[in-house]
């Protein structure tokens, strides 16, 4: 009998009920991982915690590579194909932040609890979840917890893994704690850079005008804001983080700006970055300040079409669960996976409040819908319902 998507959407409520039976294990994994700080470039301890659970669940090939990416394989019944499930291991919170997680009947609260401790917990609970739902997957599942994804990490962990991986991968799912309904299947192009303005520590009459790094950086910002951006292809410049100076009564000798150019067109990104380069050269020449800039992350626009069977199946599964798909392009792990010509989507697991704040709250009840959604997508891929006809 040829499997059909209806066979899966018809049993979604059963998947959801099965997911409820692993609630304790999931929450336990969530707390165990989430209480270990994992800032970008400092994820090792958290990855080790996840590995302990992978090993305890009897997974195969449990290992940590040179860039601290964790991986494990849940062998399929036939093992002819390999599906990649990814939950990034790093968070945007430093070691110094109190990572205590509090569990209330309806929510888990703590820094990074949803982004992405919940994603990690879902991967670690997958063996029990599949067993509870009585799903025997034919394909091998590669569970990957890559590092160095955020901030200046530039997805180094995942790039490293995909560069050295020898297993052919037929499809991928990126699992994010937030938000249920999220559906990404394309990635906009992106360039992240940092501009550093510095002036001499001692007032130097030969560098007349170069007296204040913040003032010089301000001039650069004003000029960037004047850059004309097209509405099609959609393009945006995000001035994300700024820092400079040491105290209210000291002349600042250094100021930094981190920014991101996002566009559906790689060509536009290149042209905007050339404009920024020109602005910096010009401002430096007349202000006397030293101004440098460097790119620390870059993505090319990529994606699979809305008509791709994986996207269509995912959309139908979400709608069958009464979850409205919120389609948004991604700049995270998905772009690297798609860049390797692996069809993939990013989905969210639950509703989240105060995302990326120290009191981030992941709601518990919607998690079971998110898990049913994940099981269904996995099953659809495994049943061959998400592959393009050649």
């Amino acid at each position: 009998m040829v499997p059909e998507l209806e066979d899966i959407t018809d049993v979604l409520q059963e998947y959801r009920s099965s997911a409820e039976t692993v609630k304790e294990i999931l929450l336990s994994n969530l707390v165990t991982f989430g209480e270990v700080p994992a800032p970008t470039f400092g994820e090792r301890r958290r990855v080790e915690e996840v590995q302990h659970v992978f090993i305890d669940s009897g997974l195969q090939n449990c290992s940590i590579d040179d860039l601290d990416n964790g991986m494990a394989i849940l062998p399929g019944a036939q093992g002819e194909r390999n599906l990649l499930l990814i939950a990034h291991a790093d968070t945007m919170f430093s070691e110094k932040v109190d990572h205590t997680i509090s569990l209330q009947p309806d929510r888990a609260v703590g820094p990074g609890v949803a982004d992405n401790s919940l994603g990690l917990a879902v991967l670690a609970t997958l063996p029990q979840l599949l067993e509870a739902a009585n799903i025997r997957i034919k394909d091998n599942l590669i569970l990957l917890t890559p590092t160095r994804g955020l901030d200046k990490g530039n997805l180094e962990g995942l790039r490293f893994f995909l560069k050295h991986n020898r297993l052919p991968i037929s499809a991928g799912i990126c699992v994010e704690g937030a938000q249920l309904g999220r559906l990404s299947f394309s990635c906009i192009g992106m360039l992240r850079g940092e501009i550093v303005c510095s002036v001499p520590e001692e007032y130097d009459w030969t560098k007349f005008g170069a007296t204040n790094a913040i003032v010089s950086l301000n001039e650069v910002i004003n000029r960037i804001l004047e850059v004309s951006l097209p509405t099609r292809p959609r393009t945006k410049i995000v001035l994300g983080r700024i820092e400079g100076g040491t105290s209210v009564n000291s002349v600042p000798t250094e100021a930094r700006l981190q920014f991101e150019i996002r566009s559906e067109s790689a060509r536009i990104i290149e042209s905007v970055s050339r404009e920024i380069d020109a602005i910096i050269t010009e401002t430096a020449s007349h202000s006397g300040a030293q101004i440098h800039w460097a790119v620390f992350a870059r993505r090319r626009p990529t994606g699979i079409p809305f008509s791709h069977p994986l996207v269509r199946a995912t959309t139908r599964i979400m709608e069958s669960l009464n979850v409205t798909p919120r389609i948004a392009p991604s700049t995270s792990e998905l772009s690297t996976v798609l860049g390797h010509h692996i069809p993939a989507v990013t989905v969210g697991i639950t509703r989240v409040e105060r995302l990326n704040r120290a009191d981030e709250a992941a709601l518990i009840e919607p998690v079971f819908t998110g898990l049913a959604q994940l099981l269904a997508i996995l099953k659809a891929i495994d049943d061959g319902l998400c592959h393009e006809k050649r």
């Binding site: 304790e24 929450l27 165990t32 509090s102 569990l103 209330q104 009947p105």
Partner: protein, 327 residues
């Protein structure tokens, strides 16, 4: 004296563990199954809604669902005014109000009361007590304390100790107890029960005990329950019945010095009672139960009186309802 010191040294060497010294949880659970043992976990609580959910989820998932080390997980609550009981219930714990257990015996307020009533309410051959305010809860808190009881039949009472993350000096780890331990309990033990000075943290609130021991000892309702247990179990079963386990760090609320004063007062009363009971001291004058502390505002100093009576519950074996249920 020499003999006692020797014994204590041997005990320290043979009966002091680190939680990593033991086999895996799966192996411990298998050994427990072979022995036909049942184990109950009791979490005494009073207004712990922020920490109790996490504690229950972590212990239940690892030690009841993933491995069958615990047979029962119960919260015995002293009448919390916050949502402690609702939170605990929602994460699958059996929740009891202390006042509703053995109602004929009446109701007293204090952690010791909950621990005592747990002996009647819970079914296990071993009862593990863990406080509800452990911020860094981990399954090791449970299996670390249970392992010596599962692996060594002669051990009857296992107590936790922790690293105290204060100032480190070279390779020497700061060890020992908190302020009340070092200033009050250790000096008293040194004078009267030198064997008990082998405990690194005699006041730690986490321990696992065999029912045959728990039912034979009395329970101070408020402060002093840990001190009285050590003295009474030492008298009944000797030092060899004890073990202590290093559980690394325990993060919890820090107590104000004023509150530690009340604790020290309660412990001292319990201690003096024990000296009398074991004929180690001659008649003591009537002491009352009022602790006086100062409260100062500017140049005004006001004395505040705290009534801290030390009431004790008798050994459970003396309670008829208990004998009917278990004997």
């Amino acid at each position: 004296m020499m003999d006692s010191a020797m014994k204590k040294g041997d005990w320290l060497k043979n009966n002091t563990y680190h939680h990593s010294d033991f086999p895996t949880v799966a192996e411990l659970a298998e050994e427990k199954r072979k022995q036909g043992l049942s184990i109950s976990l009791c979490i005494p609580s009073l207004n712990e809604e922020n920490t109790i959910g996490k504690e229950i989820v972590l212990l239940r998932s690892e030690l009841m669902i993933r491995h069958k080390l615990l047979d029962e997980l119960a919260v015995i609550d002293s009448g919390s005014s916050d949502s402690t009981r609702e939170v605990a219930r929602s994460f699958g714990a059996d929740v009891y109000k202390s006042s509703e257990i053995l109602p004929k015996e009446g109701e007293m307020k204090g952690k010791g009361e909950n621990l005592w009533k747990a002996i009647y309410q819970l079914e296990g051959d071993i009862i593990l007590y863990l406080d509800a305010d452990i911020k860094n809860i981990h399954p090791k808190f449970a299996y670390g304390l249970l392992a010596p009881l599962i692996l060594r039949p002669e051990i009857k009472y296992v107590k936790a100790f922790y690293e105290r993350p204060l100032i480190m000096s070279g390779s020497v780890r700061p060890s020992g107890g908190g302020r009340v331990t070092e200033i009050l309990v250790r000096p008293l033990f040194s004078l009267f029960f030198p064997q008990l000075t082998a405990f690194l943290q005699p006041l730690s609130g986490e321990y696992a005990v065999r029912r045959e021991v728990l039912e034979q000892i009395s329970f101070p309702v408020g402060y002093g329950v840990e001190t009285s247990h050590l003295i009474d179990v030492l008298q009944l079963f000797g030092l060899e019945a004890f073990a202590q386990v290093d559980l690394d760090q325990r993060v919890h609320r820090n107590q104000a010095t004023r509150d530690l004063g009340k604790m020290a007062f309660g412990i001292l009363q319990t201690f003096l009672k024990r000296l009398k009971k074991h004929d180690m001291i001659a008649e003591l004058p009537e002491t009352g139960a009022v602790l006086r502390q100062f409260q100062s505002q500017g140049t005004e100093h006001r004395q505040v009186e705290h009534d801290i009576p030390v009431t004790e519950r008798p050994p459970m074996l003396e309670v008829e309802a208990y004998r009917k249920k278990f004997k």
